[in-house]
């Protein structure tokens, strides 16, 4: 490709680069400013180091654990689903994909409240179980309910990118592999899976990150008994009005962008891609 064309392509990014400079980087700068100063405005690392206090470290640990579990479950549920969707006829595909985004058109808070109605001690599911003389399900206000809420709310974020990546795979490649004697497992391991990795990575990012920072789900489904790092940050801003500490803890969370980037780099062996 000649240099001029390359330059032109780069120029196409200008609106976005300017946009992200103003609306992402400048606000980010403000977060860093608050996070690295105290009330008097002098520099301090205290707000960032506050993550090591037992309360904060525990909140971060639980948040990491629960969001990792939720991401893993999403991946395990979404991958077969995306494969099935790809196997459908062309006309049906888009229809079914939309069916899976449709629930997101109901407000997030309303949907999560609805889970409360379903899961509660006297809720819908337990009424049905009672009616059938089955033991009741007691997961409301426990970590299980939080994971369930995460999986429910973020599953579409995992399905869509994987589906996108899978539907892009050239059917002829798979047929060729079959003709050459590969069994279904080999086809999957050698062709489908590697080619869908960009989708998987982007799905993981899109599920893991919102799950890590959520606070509404743990409030509504966890009965606020389990403190996640998102709750801590939210409360610093809303209840304690301590923007400095809240920002400092947010900076710590940003380290996970970097971790995320490094992990992606490892998976991205051929170097053709980036950090999706």
């Amino acid at each position: 490709m000649n240099k001029k064309a390359l330059l032109k392509k780069k120029l196409l990014g200008t609106p976005y680069f300017i946009w992200s400079a103003i609306f992402i980087l400048v606000p980010l700068g403000m977060v860093f400013y608050y996070g690295l100063t105290d009330r008097t405005g002098s520099f301090t690392l205290e707000n960032v180091l506050a993550i090591s206090t037992p309360e904060h470290a525990k909140a971060l640990g639980i948040a990491l654990l629960l969001s990792l579990i939720a991401t893993l479950i999403c991946l395990l549920l979404a991958y077969p689903l995306a494969m099935i969707l790809c196997g459908q006829k062309n006309g049906r595909q888009s229809f079914i994909v939309l069916i899976f985004i449709l629930p997101m058109w109901m407000n997030f808070l309303l949907r999560t409240l609805a889970w409360q109605t379903l899961l509660e001690k006297t809720g819908v599911i337990n009424s049905i179980l009672n009616f059938l003389h089955l033991p009741s399900l007691n997961i409301i206000n426990t970590p299980y309910a939080i994971v369930l809420g995460m999986v429910y709310n973020f599953l579409p974020f995992m399905v869509l990118p994987i589906y996108n990546a899978l539907s892009k795979i050239d059917g002829n490649v798979i047929n060729a592999a079959r003709d050459l004697g590969a069994n279904p497992i080999q086809v999957f391991m050698k062709i489908t899976l590697p080619l869908s990795i960009p989708g998987i990575i982007s799905g993981i990012t899109m599920v893991f990150i919102p799950a890590l920072t959520t606070f509404v789900i743990s409030k509504l489904l966890g009965g606020s008994k389990i403190l996640l790092i998102g709750n801590v940050i939210e409360e610093e801003f809303t209840q304690a009005s301590n923007w400095h500490l809240g920002s400092g803890l947010s900076i710590v969370l940003m380290l996970f962008i970097i971790v995320n980037m490094l992990l992606t780099a490892i998976f991205d062996k051929d170097g053709e891609g980036s950090f999706l």
Binding site: G223, S224, Q239
Partner: protein, 351 residues
């Protein structure tokens, strides 16, 4: 694939046509009101517009704390806001409020003297605020699910109600309960007293079904829990929906809170704001609001207009404060005080 696009765009345009966008111009300017969500009878707003020709621009917030940064930063200028006691004090401390000219609010005569007295705890000269609603915090319990009569915060530490207790999920309210249980002031900054309260809360945690704010109401109505800490205004509503519920103010004392109208310094329409506050203090209007939101009104004219004898004499809506001891109103404790409470609360929550 184009049809995917149609799928999104069609309903959007369809619905936009349906709803349209109507803005009426006002003859006498406007007043920008910033109030709690669902905290006013919308009919009173229309009445105000009709009578005065002033257009009401109405905006809502969900907590004092989300309201504060918006007003402090001056993102939008509001004319009238309705914060709670300690937040009013914080706003006075930070020089965000304008003095209200009470000459323009003749209807303030309707506000009971005792409530103006109470207001002095956060607004010492009654210069900045006009009470709108008040209430207490107490225990709501389900008569069919408890064995003994309840009159003390101690019941929230009773092991027979394990997993049947709903606690308030906000720092000051939770600490209020624990501090009162231990016999301390709920505005204390004494380290030892706060440590004792914190230990009580940690001890209580295994018994708590959930820490909630607004969910108490629905959960109690649905028989999810036996005991909950709740605001008195909600108690009247929940009783209407579930007759087994009973509200009590514990003997150790509690929080008497007041939400009052205030005018911020940067209000663009201060005169209209005063007209609005005056209108809200009118007996018939205050009555309408009381019947709509069920939070107690400090408006004596409205109290007399109530037709339903049960409500008029309700101990929940209009308790006789002289019967209770240790009633207090929250005060702003300064940023250091806030930080102290908050770090202790985090220790409780992360246990």
């Amino acid at each position: 694939m184009k049809k995917l696009l149609c799928f999104v765009l069609l309903p959007v345009f369809g619905l936009s046509l349906l709803t349209g966008c109507g803005k009426s111009s006002a003859e006498n300017g406007e007043v920008i009101v910033y109030n709690w969500g669902e905290y006013i009878d919308p009919e009173t707003l229309s009445l105000f517009e009709e009578e005065t020709g002033i257009k009401v621009v109405y905006d809502e917030y969900d907590t004092n704390e989300t309201m504060y940064p918006k007003v402090e930063a001056g993102a939008s200028a509001y004319d009238v806001i309705c914060p709670s006691d300690y937040m009013i004090q914080k706003m006075i401390d930070n020089d965000l409020l304008a003095e209200i000219n009470l000459d323009n609010i003749p209807n303030i005569k309707n506000i009971g003297q005792q409530y103006l007295e109470q207001s002095k705890e956060f607004d010492p000269e009654n210069k900045y605020s006009v009470p709108y609603c008040f209430g207490t915090v107490g225990i709501l319990y389900n008569k069919t699910m408890v064995s003994d009569p309840i009159d003390s915060w101690a019941v929230l530490w009773d092991e027979q109600y394990a997993d049947n207790i709903l606690m308030q999920d906000s720092v000051r309210d939770a600490f209020m309960v624990a501090l009162k249980l231990n016999g301390y002031s709920m505005n204390t900054l004494n380290e030892a007293e706060l440590q004792a309260a914190k230990n009580s809360l940690i001890e209580q945690k295994p018994l708590v079904q959930a820490y909630v704010i607004d969910q108490v109401r629905d959960k109690m109505i649905g028989d999810e829990a036996a005991i909950g800490v709740i605001y008195s205004g909600e108690a009247i509503y929940t009783q209407r929906e579930n007759e087994n519920l009973e509200y009590v103010i514990p003997k150790e004392g509690t929080n008497v809170w007041i939400d009052s109208w205030v005018i911020p310094k940067n209000a663009p329409n201060k005169e209209n704001a005063e007209k609005f506050i005056d209108f809200m203090c009118r007996g018939d209007i205050a009555l309408k609001n009381f019947e709509y939101i069920t939070y107690s009104t400090p408006n004596t004219a409205a109290q007399e207009l109530i037709e339903d004898e049960d409500i008029k004499n309700s101990k929940i809506a209009f308790p006789d404060f002289s019967q209770y001891e240790n009633l207090e109103t929250f005060q702003y404790l300064g940023s250091d005080g806030d930080a102290l409470y908050n770090s202790l609360w985090k220790e409780v929550k992360s246990e």
